[in-house]
Point group: C2
Chain length 197, copies 2
DNA sequence: GCATTACGCTACCAATAGTAGCGTAATTAG
DNA sequence: CTAATTACGCTACTATTGGTAGCGTAATGC
């Protein structure tokens, strides 16, 4: 990227621009995101932005990725506890910005070209989905969850439920609310929970 | 709408335009939908389209609504059977057009103004979601499904799982596939199914 | 000093949703 | 038959906006 020769890029510009992008995404959504607004808010020229990101969509994906933060968690040995922490961490990153970044991510995903969509999948989706599937499988193996459903079905249903409520039904992304929803879903699959009533 | 006086609107134009819109949506998606392309494909002037629908988004919603078709079903008395028929009917309408109209509907929903989103909710979402919730509640009351989850959670998880797979993961909307997924999810909530293994 | 790259700036291009106005066609009311 | 009214196609236009080109200038390494 940055060559060893020539004038170096101004430090902090990436951060400033991403922060401005995130802020504008939170208030106007991806559909209302304007590259000129980002440039103005960040105090840089539009051309500087295009020198660092190839398109508005790429910039938005980078901003959301930054908002998601680091999703690596140390395993505790209890799959269900790890699962809850994974969900909580991811949701917290998305909810902390005052807007439904989940919905924004959906927008971006739908409008982007195939190459960008693949990056979106690898950088936004899979870092949550893949570990979650592994954890569910391990929970099933230990008899903590009913084996009646496939792990991927279960995870997709949980993620899908959140996406659907936030992105389609328009409910606010409240971290506690989401955690409770995921908890209720898990409870309905929990082996001991399924046995009573 | 149409006054009693003056030249009447050409018959069949609504149908032709909606069919052309649906066709273009199926091949290019909502993001790739161009009003001029619709006009050309339908063989009408662009101004004629704007005389009948206030915006491109409204036109697209009307086209998807038409693709969904009539979703009223006669109750059989068996909630689970009714549920399956409801899902099958809705999915069949969406899948029959060769493209993921679910994903398209997502696009439209996100980009539209609040008034249109409300119409989308009332005309596309709720006609499936509300009866489904009622049927699930009734299945729980009869002991056919586990009472561990709230009916709305359950329905949203099922719808969300389908939306997520089609609209985010990019899987094709195959009617049999979706029915099988919904069936697996239901089985994991089914009282007898949850008891074994 | 020289090559190289970044920055801000202005100007520009291309695509596209939506509108205005015109001539004309079709219909109803009297 | 005439007048009023509305629809249609057409051309031209406006406004917005993503993205690019080119220029003068500022930093940096060699």
């Amino acid at each position: 990227m940055s060559a060893s020769t020539g004038r170096p890029r101004r430090a902090g510009v990436d951060e400033t621009v991403l922060a401005a992008t995130l802020d504008l995404l939170a208030t106007h959504g991806y559909t209302g995101l304007r590259i000129n607004d980002v440039a103005d808010a960040a105090g840089v020229a539009k051309t500087t932005i295009y020198r660092r990101w190839p398109s508005l969509a790429h910039l938005a994906v980078a901003a959301v990725e930054r908002a998601l933060g680091d999703r690596t968690t140390a395993p505790t040995g209890d799959p269900l506890a790890d699962l809850e922490r994974l969900v909580t961490t991811a949701v917290a990153g998305l909810a902390a910005n005052g807007a439904s970044l989940v919905a924004i991510a959906q927008d971006i995903h739908r409008q982007a070209d195939p190459e960008l969509r693949s990056a979106y999948r690898q950088r936004i989706i899979d870092p949550v989905r893949e570990p979650a599937i592994t954890l569910v499988q391990s929970a099933i193996d230990r008899g903590l969850l009913s084996a009646a459903a496939q792990p991927a079905d279960l995870v997709d249903a949980a993620i899908g439920a959140v996406l659907y409520r936030v992105a389609v039904l328009g409910e606010p992304l409240d971290a506690d609310h989401v955690t409770a929803l995921a908890g209720r879903l898990l409870a309905s699959w929990r082996r001991d929970g399924a046995r009573d009533i």
